[in-house]
């Protein structure tokens, strides 16, 4: 048996390691100061996909991502770890998309990919933490979903069934669903395997069209230009709105029912606080004070 698997992956700013220069003095986010990374839970999803590929020879794993030209790095990273290929959905018309417009765009691209058994992605992305895109893609494709997956336990080809262990509030459950299906994976699932040295050698020069254009924009020539003709797999696929027959009204800002009304920088209301040292006398006085006003004891 072989499976056709599409991994949904997103390039995100690393919001977990926000330095002091991450916010501008005006209180907006300085995206340039944040490194762009492979969304962590999408890596957990990739690992589940690669395990199925190991288990069922002949299976293929394709990465689908949406973003600017530099997001081709996500496909490359996937290739380094064992994916077979990928698609970068990239167009100005996709910009400003909320989760609904994002899932619309992804669903149109998945329809274009066509033949698939499993769509799998991380539960949520660290720049939004919404966990909405997976279920919304499923709904748009008319498929069911299994969210919060911990592990794919079994795929039964004859019955076209998949068995998944998932987290629920206060526990776990094992569910069985039909293929094709959309699955979202938790960060607590098995971590992704590291890059494979051979695959890094094979794909390190793989580039998307916009990345190539960025290299050659000042009249520079593309290094190893002949390689891209000899080895077509080094040309990473980019799709625009028209490539996936997208309806412009449903894409980007215009396809987004939610609007950001206001953004506030985090300014805590400073309380009048009492600062003490960690020396014995200070700590003892504090404890005595807390006991006296019945906060403790």
């Amino acid at each position: 048996m072989s499976l056709k698997i599409v991994v949904l992956a997103k390039q995100v700013p690393d919001t977990r390691n926000v330095g002091k220069d991450a916010m501008t003095p005006e209180g907006t986010v300085n995206r340039a100061a944040l490194p762009a990374i492979f969304n962590p839970e999408d890596l957990n999803a990739l690992e589940q996909a690669l395990r199925l590929k190991d288990q069922f020879p002949g299976s293929t794993v394709q990465i689908l991502t949406m973003g600017p030209g530099r997001a081709a790095a996500i496909i490359r990273e996937g290739l380094f770890r064992g994916a077979d290929g990928g698609y970068l959905l990239t167009d100005r018309a996709f910009a400003g998309a909320d989760t609904l417009a994002t899932s619309y765009a992804l669903a149109t691209a998945i329809r274009k990919i066509g033949d698939f058994d499993i769509i799998i992605g991380g539960r949520q992305a660290i720049d939004g933490d919404t966990a909405q895109v997976g279920p919304q893609v499923a709904e748009k494709l008319g498929l069911t979903q299994i969210t919060y997956a911990e592990e794919i336990l079994k795929v039964d080809e004859a019955k076209k069934h998949i068995t998944v262990k998932r987290h629920i509030d206060g526990g776990v459950e094992t569910v069985e669903g039909p293929l094709p299906i959309v699955i979202t994976v938790n960060g607590s699932a098995t971590p992704c395997r590291p890059r494979n040295a051979k695959l890094v050698m094979k794909y390190k020069r793989a580039l998307g069209a916009q990345e190539k254009a960025a290299i050659t924009q000042n009249g520079k020539t593309l290094p190893y230009a002949e390689l891209y003709e000899k080895k077509p797999y080094l040309n990473l696929m980019e799709w625009s709105v028209s490539d996936v027959n997208g309806d412009l009204v449903q894409c980007g800002l215009s396809g987004s029912p939610t609007k950001v009304k206001a953004i506030q920088n985090i300014v805590f209301q400073t309380k009048e606080s009492k600062t003490i040292t960690g020396n014995d006398k200070d700590v003892e006085n504090l404890i005595i004070e807390l006991l006296a006003n019945h906060t403790i004891g």
Partner: protein, 339 residues
């Protein structure tokens, strides 16, 4: 028509706390908007379920009672809400930011092409002016949530699409019974009119739910640790202090991610929201997601070697020092003085 709907989550035959909290919030929003509050329950053997729901001020309760609706699976519950909402056209729909709410909400919003905001920390009613379109909207739901890793707080509105949908975590809103004898209308729906047989395609083979192992939500004192605690071993100090004070131990996301503490003790936007009498923050820098989950604590003590840690701004007492140094002293002087 045009009312506020709350989707009530069911475990067995019990309505989840988060849903009751949202009914209380929904009641207040309904009063403000001059509309009714309606609730939806979907499950199996829901006899007398109204007794759990109506006292929160619910004007109309929609009951969907059929085998196969418990345990929850995505498709049947989506069909219930999507088809009901097509008839009832709610202006607002609230659900818990639980595993179920975060599985169901996006599916429903996608089917209705309505906007959904996840994990709101506040909900308000207000106006919105779209300057580009030259339009002003009255009485929109302000969906307020930390965003971008908690470095900003965003207010989201859905001007054109209905229902305006939002999920809210357990503990964020307060549960308050309005009137134990509140009179609301009960509608027992014919489930077959809303759910297709083909919707029951995911089978729950095995299910294991435990009551929460800790009592973070109910504990009057919480000793909580962040990344600055440094190690799992140092977290042991927090447990020692907690034992003395009859407190529970909590953690920030950074500490949980670093493996210092179990996930079910995480406090903050993506964990539990708490409001204890005393909150002792140990080595917690104070990212907004964490603050969102504990800022309503009565007294906050911050123990931190960094005097500029953001959490110090909301603390009542700041102790400048390391965990290893300060906590043993707190235990020592508590023992000495509490007798």
């Amino acid at each position: 028509m045009n009312n506020i709907f709350v989707y009530c989550e069911i475990e067995g035959t019990t309505v989840a706390d988060v849903s009751l909290e949202l009914l209380s919030k929904g009641r207040k929003l309904a009063n403000q908007l001059g509309c009714q509050l309606e609730a939806v329950v979907a499950g199996t053997n829901l006899k007398d379920i109204e007794k759990q729901v109506l006292p929160y001020g619910v004007d109309k309760l929609h009951i969907f009672d059929a085998p196969g609706l418990f345990p929850y699976t995505s498709m049947p519950h989506t069909s219930v809400l999507v088809n009901l909402f097509r008839e009832e056209k709610p202006q607002i729909c609230l659900m818990g930011a639980t595993v179920i709410g975060r599985d169901l909400g996006p599916r429903v919003s996608s089917a209705l092409t309505s906007g959904l905001t996840a994990d709101c920390t506040a909900l308000e009613i207000g106006a919105h002016e779209d300057k580009k379109a030259g339009k002003t909207y009255e009485n929109l739901l302000y969906q307020i949530r930390p965003a971008f890793g908690g470095n900003i707080v965003a207010t989201i509105v859905n001007p054109e699409h209905r229902p305006q949908m939002a999920t809210v975590r357990e503990g964020v809103m307060k549960k308050e019974i309005l009137d134990p004898n509140y009179k609301g209308e009960i509608i027992n729906h014919d489930v077959n009119k809303y759910v297709n047989d083909t919707d029951y395609i995911v089978r729950v083979i095995e299910r294991h739910v435990e009551k929460a192992k800790n009592n973070l939500k109910g504990s009057p004192i919480i000793v909580s640790g962040g990344y600055g605690v440094g190690s799992k071993e140092n977290f042991g100090l927090l447990y020692e202090l907690a034992k003395e004070l009859h407190a529970e131990v909590g953690a920030s996301r950074a500490a949980v991610d670093a493996g210092f503490c179990e996930h079910d003790r995480q406090i903050g936007q993506t964990g539990v929201t708490v409001r204890p009498k005393l909150y002792i923050a140990c080595g917690i820098s104070g990212q907004i997601q964490h603050i969102a989950g504990m800022k309503e604590s009565g007294i906050i003590i911050s123990i931190n070697s960094d005097e500029n840690a953001p959490i110090n701004n909301i603390a009542d007492y700041v102790i400048i020092g390391t965990i290893e140094e300060v906590i043993p002293k707190m235990i020592k002087y508590y023992k000495q003085n509490s007798k």
